[in-house]
Amino acid sequence: MGMEIENNKMEVIKEEEDSEVTDSEMVRFLRNALQEVGETEFESSTHHYSDLVAVFGNQDGRDTDHVALLVASSRALSRAVTYIDIDRHNSLLSNIFRMSIWNFGENVMDALIDLIKALAASSGKYVEDCLEMLVRNFKPPQNLLNFVSQPHGIAKKEKVQDRVHKALKDIAELMPVSLLYLNGIVVQRMPRMSSKNDFPRKIKDDLQLSEIYVESMLKLERGVLGRFMGNVMLSAVVYRLVELDVEIEWDEILQDDPSKGIFDMEIEDTDEAADYNDDGEVCLKAGFGLQKMGADAFADRLDSLMVLTCEHIKSRADEGHLHEVFDTLLLSFKKSILDTHKSKFAQFVMFYACSLDPERCGVRFAVTLADTFVRAGESPTTRMSAVAYLASYLSRARFLPSTLVVSMLKRLVDWCAKYYCKFQDVEEENINPHVHRVFYSGCQAVMYVLCYRMRMMVDVPHLKSLLLDMPLESIFRNSLDPLKVCLPSIVNEFLRQAKAARLFTVSEKFFFNDLLESDLSKTYGGIERLDTFFPFDPCLLRNCDSFIRPHFLYWSIVNKTYDDDGDDNGNSDEDVNEDEGFVDGDGECFHDGDRNLDELDYEVDLDEFENSMNKMSITPRKSLKHMMPARIRPSTSPESL
């Protein structure tokens, strides 16, 4: 059968050459071939029609004769689409819709795309099939997957994507109703997520397909059609980020030194985390440090998708559409990320979007989180999660104006004070931390933010007066006793700074240097251990971190209220851009007059470092897997050790 068809095809071409068949004659020939097909194509399909079906059934783009025939047939058929009947020409249509334009050169691509456009616009019957065909071509066929990552492959990918997106736009112009279907088709056709139990090869392929597909989705949103498609694309991408995120479990992230406390967790020793090959390139011991190869592949792809998303946000921002994108992101954050159990990476797209417009987006994100925390209608878990995000965000986002940090802090303190007033008659022995978990999470958030921002506040007189006006003492020293319930490492650091800043009188009994993590803290954190959730701890994804790093406040450069020189942490791992300084939204330095962050001493004194570790790290090893670990990737920045 195959040989017969090939011969027949050759005959057609020969005929064309011999008699110089014009386009019109070719169209007429195809119209006749289509009309000759009876009511049921299999009973009475003609010789010519069978040849035509076979032409579109062959996806070999290397056979030049076939390519020539395919181009001629496609061009002619696109002028005879009104003669195609959905019932009588089913096999021809199904062959056309099964074609992958990735298999062919540019001339076939153009001819096929024209045919699809003509089919879609000819009548409403084929719109969905045409859209599905085009959307399927968002990603390459399995056999070309390796080729796509090579330079020629990347060029081909762009050619295919350009044509597919142009076709979608042209179809939408002729058939506006197609936009109603496109969203659904694009989301439905997203490559499925492989399970970690699949073969590594399959996981890798699936993730690569997913990445190429997402690239197209974001391109679609950026394009002309984006404004008609609502927020579906970006929401679906954020959801995919979360899906990948949850595949990587905390247990799979290596702890380089489980004895370190929360504030020391950022410290890394790059020599331990990475090896270098002969070319001087960094070879990770286990990629991202994930113990399972499957999880490592997930992290790798998640990193790529995060970069794609950040680039998308940036390009939309450059076009002046940041606020529309931010609306979508905020909605997706509330729907997908906020309630995800200890999301590790996906939230950084929000962080990045906020950094692009701190005055509007940055403020809106903080206000949304604060609103969620104080809203009684939300579940306690959501509220605790929201306040964890808020605390981490206010502490880590160096682009936030100091006034915003203070106002958010005041809002948290006021809520805690109001809460305490309702329960001030409770006896200390009867306190059940689980019942008051939202209150404790609020208190811990206040302490956490102050650990990072106290010095900045006490150095500016009007901020200091605002801080002193806050009823901090009353919320920390009451029968609910948050200082005993919240994470001791945070309480210790907070008290240490509060004492140095003379915020209030700190009794020695509140220092828990010799205590292990309190059971009370575990109880209030619940089984989700939300007491140890710090969502914006340093990003572990190498490429994504390059977007976050310039806007990120590392613990190593935080000015503390106490004198750091004596027992400096010496954590010089974070290669902070030293030229950028540390300026708030009003152009006002966060740090004290003469003393600049650039002058911070990054020298490592190992003895002092260990000493500091011993002082600050009181959290037991077993709990550390719940915390954001030290950065486990090698820092490639020249400033790093």
């Binding site: 169209v27 002028r79 009104t82 616009a121 009548s123 409403g124 506006p176 109703v177």
Partner: protein, 244 residues
Amino acid sequence: MEVFKLSTANLVVYLHPSKAGNVPQAIRYELGKLLFKFNEVFDGVVLSYNGNVVGTNAKILPTTHPNETVEKQITNAKIRPSIHPYFGVRLKAKLLLFSPKPDMLIEGKVMKLGEELIHVVVLGFCSATIIEEDIRKDFRYKIKHGEEVYASTSERRHVIKVGSMVRFLVKSMDEDMLHISGSLLPPNTGSIKWLDKDEDLESERRVKKRKGESHKGMQVQGMGLLDKELLQNNDGSSKKSKRR
């Protein structure tokens, strides 16, 4: 029959209790779902709505399984059993409907033109195609200055090209896909620009006739700006008519 219809509909919108906090928004969302889709009940495509809540009593569907709590039904006859406790809000809504039927004349913009097909979009959302067989023989496909056009052989100035507004006859409509199959066979179809000019010529003739009958031009001036424009147009088209 008109292509556009204005209907008043009595509706009950069932809302989830979670939407009770912002009922108007939830109603707008539900009504919004009707837009640009063919609705068999209304026999047309809903183009716009204007809804008002009627009364303050909502019909509540309680959260009971149909197979249980028969007693409750007896004790409170107004409550109907349902799996979800939706509440129904009664509305009176005015709906603007687009309802093209066969043999109606409608207008649209030519988006693409080829020898075999003319693609038209009506009201920016409804697509239409006119196939070669449904274009009257008077029109010939040509390529003029590199542009594909359908030009009338009898009326030189009657040309259809991309961007033209055309009036065509509805042959059939695919209601799911909002796709109209049209025809340019009747003589009163074609480019609106030309058809309207033709009508203007007719009205010009009528005006001239009236002018001849009455020597007072006050009546025409009294008709305002529109008539001034009409006269201007007529001045231009009278030359054409001479040529014709």
